[in-house]
């Protein structure tokens, strides 16, 4: 039985990892010294490994870092970055902040939704691409900007967007 979390909330029920995702989460926690203060880093790493943060790993993480399940749930749901459902193979973050608006990002967003046949926040029917709105990628002098993984693109109009997406499917096929 783990010691009572500092918050005074009930500790997460002890739960041993029973599937690969949970085992992965445990090892990520361990690599961060099971420190509650590194919860954001832990969640980033779990998402990097699993593609999203499944519900089933929350009690495992809570237990490992000695927080209540509610506290971990609270953190996961507070931050836009953490996904609670699986997403497409690629996530395209389209900037919708003011600078990109001044260069027609509204039009780009509509184009993206139409060409990928999904709404903002959704995944294309073939499961390849998720599109997501973000507010500022720090590329405001070369608007509109999008971010795919760690790759930033500037001056993205509808035509360039289509070329980039076509490049992604080629990458996936290769």
């Amino acid at each position: 039985m783990s010691k009572k979390p500092k918050s005074g909330l009930a500790p997460a029920p002890v739960k041993s990892a029973s599937n690969p995702a949970e085992l992965k989460a445990l090892s990520v926690c361990a690599s961060h010294g099971n420190r509650a203060s590194e919860l954001l880093e832990i969640l980033h790493d779990v998402q990097h490994e699993l593609g999203y943060v499944p519900e089933s790993v929350l009690p495992v993480i809570a237990n490992a870092v000695n927080l209540s399940r509610a506290e971990v749930h609270g953190v996961v749901t507070f931050y836009h970055d953490f996904k609670r459902e699986p997403v497409g193979r690629h996530t395209i973050k389209i900037c919708r902040a003011e600078a990109c608006q001044s260069m027609g990002t509204d039009h780009l967003c509509k184009h993206a939704e139409k060409s990928l046949k999904t709404d903002m926040g959704g995944t294309s029917p073939d499961g390849s691409v998720t599109i997501e709105q973000v507010f500022c990628l720090g590329n405001c002098a070369l608007s509109p900007a999008i971010l795919i993984g760690d790759k930033l693109y500037g001056k993205v109009d509808a035509k360039r967007f289509d070329e980039i997406v076509a490049g992604l499917s080629k990458e996936t096929a290769a």
Partner: protein, 521 residues
């Protein structure tokens, strides 16, 4: 061997710098030319990116914007000898956009290889820290106070006073925390410095640590900046190995270590207390003040919190003295600010200039007007919580107090330019919508007020009881400004009311419900 520079800055990469670098290397191999390629930071002339520079006996010669398709032609016209070409701009330092600046904080950015400590030292790096090591901590604080440096994150609080508070406190553990959650649209100075001159930030934070008596520091960088995160992590490792961080820095009695923490896509974490919560691994909920973070900050300990630009201004202050820095600027706004010209702009980029320069100079002289070629109608200064300036206010000098007088704020120095196709009622609605999405939810004026704000502006646009709803909106803005816990809800009224006051016609169009119709599409 000829040295060629192609930036590794994220903005340059976003328009193909990697592809250009590969093309240059491939062409050099093909033509059997000896080329040494250095991936520098950006010079800040983002409209010219990818900006390729070639080292020549008379200085570095600039070419840009270069595409991979231009490379063969550049070689053919002799760019390795700095010869002329249609993409050529002559000596980089003579380009008026660059030459007219006053670069103190960004003095090295774009010149050096960001990760080379040798480069950093060659261009005056660590001089400030060396001085600081030999000074009494209180004298460091005094020097910063003398410089007149004020918080560059937007609030403009005197940095020296903040440091003094932490210096005067006793404590077994104190911290330094750097706010690199640069979430404001139209700002990229923090990102450029972190990617282009990371040791400058490390040096500034180390000086702060010595002044305040801290031994640990955190840099909180937003997850939208993967390049900056990687560069800083690498730079910290290198600095540690070279003993510019860690125990007994350069043989002194001072020890300081530094860690990078990633954000997770929450704008509110740029608010300092919310950032502290986030570094502690919690929801980014704003804290009540008092206690101020200088007294009870990270993990409840005394903490010096500053923005990237504030810390990065410190090395030169400790190198050349507070008086030197203070000689730049106007009124109570001393030193320089890295202005960022963005949005619908022909020549977007970073312009470091002493306070006192005007919006018009930045947008017209440096920016060259809009990218679309249409007239400039509005400029939002200071991020999503800053006011929209109509043309009549373009000549107000950039000065914290002068801007406050016209209900605007200088903020972080970001300028987002809009042409005459902008619908300001829509932008006012967006300001409220952004607050709905990004409010931490702790206080009612921000959490509920923003939602009511969106609804009210929708009614105004639809000409539903317009006069009454305009009154209601103004009243709501007063409630949000006076009643919110932090700047998120407290400053959202700025863009909204500045749009209402500066662009009344946009709120008075026939009630076609244009935006709702668009949204319903």
């Amino acid at each position: 061997m000829i040295t060629v520079y192609v930036p590794r800055d994220a903005a340059a990469l976003s328009v193909g710098a990697d592809e250009v670098a590969s093309a240059i290397l491939a062409e050099a191999v093909k033509l059997k030319k000896q080329v040494r390629l250095i991936r520098n930071g950006s010079r800040g002339m983002l409209y010219l990116e990818p900006l390729v520079e070639v080292e020549t006996p008379t200085g570095r010669v600039a070419y840009g914007p270069v595409t991979p398709g231009d490379v063969a032609d550049l070689f053919k016209s002799g760019f390795l000898e700095g010869k002329s070409h249609k993409l050529g701009h002559g000596l980089t330092e003579d380009i008026p956009y660059f030459k007219k600046q006053e670069r103190l904080t960004f003095a090295r950015c774009g010149i050096t290889d960001p990760l080379s400590i040798e480069d950093y030292i060659k261009y005056d790096g660590f001089k400030g820290l060396k001085n600081a090591i030999d000074m009494k901590p209180i004298d460091i604080v005094t020097e910063v106070t003398t410089s007149g440096l004020r918080g560059r994150g937007g609030a403009g609080f005197p940095t020296g006073i903040k440091w003094k508070t932490v210096h005067d406190l006793k404590g077994d553990q104190k911290y330094v925390a750097c706010n690199a959650d640069e979430g404001d649209s139209g700002t990229f100075a923090d990102r450029m410095l972190m990617e282009g001159d990371p040791y400058c930030l490390i040096e500034g934070m180390t000086i702060a640590a010595i002044a305040g008596g801290a031994t640990k520091g955190y840099i909180y960088i937003r997850s939208e900046y993967p390049h900056a995160i990687n560069v800083l992590k690498e730079a910290i490792e290198i600095a540690r190995k070279a003993n510019w961080l860690g125990d007994n820095i350069q043989g002194s009695n001072y020890s300081f270590d530094l860690y990078v923490r990633r954000g997770a896509g929450a704008y509110i974490c740029g608010e300092e207390t919310s950032m502290l919560e986030s570094i502690e691994g919690k929801r980014g909920i704003v804290r009540y003040k008092p206690p101020i973070p200088a007294i009870e900050g990270l993990f409840g300990k005394p903490t010096i919190i500053n923005n990237v630009m504030s810390f990065a201004a410190v090395p030169i202050i400790l190198d050349k003295g507070g008086e030197f820095y203070k000689n730049y600027g106007v009124g109570r706004s001393r030193g320089t600010l890295a202005f960022q010209i963005a949005g619908n702009i022909k020549q977007g980029g970073l312009v470091e200039k002493a306070f006192g320069v005007t919006t018009r100079e930045l947008v017209e002289d440096w920016g060259g007007g809009t990218a679309t070629g249409r007239p400039v109608r509005a400029v939002q200064v200071g991020g999503p919580l800053g006011a929209y300036l109509p043309e009549s206010k373009f000549d107000v000098p950039m000065d914290y107090e002068e801007f406050a007088k016209v209900d605007a704020m200088v903020g972080h120095g970001g300028l987002v330019v809009f042409d005459d196709t902008v619908d300001m009622a829509k932008m006012a609605r967006f300001a409220m919508e952004f607050c709905v999405l990004e409010s931490c939810g702790k206080c009612t004026p921000c959490r509920i007020g923003s939602t009511r704000g969106v609804e009210t502006i929708d009614k105004i646009i639809a000409d539903d009881n317009r006069a009454k709803n305009m009154e209601l909106l103004a009243d709501l803005c007063v409630t949000m400004a006076d009643g919110s816990l932090c700047a998120m809800g407290g400053l959202t009224p700025f863009p909204v009311m500045s749009a209402v006051k500066g662009f009344p016609d946009d709120f008075n169009k026939p009630g076609k419900n244009k935006f709702l119709a668009e949204a319903a599409e």
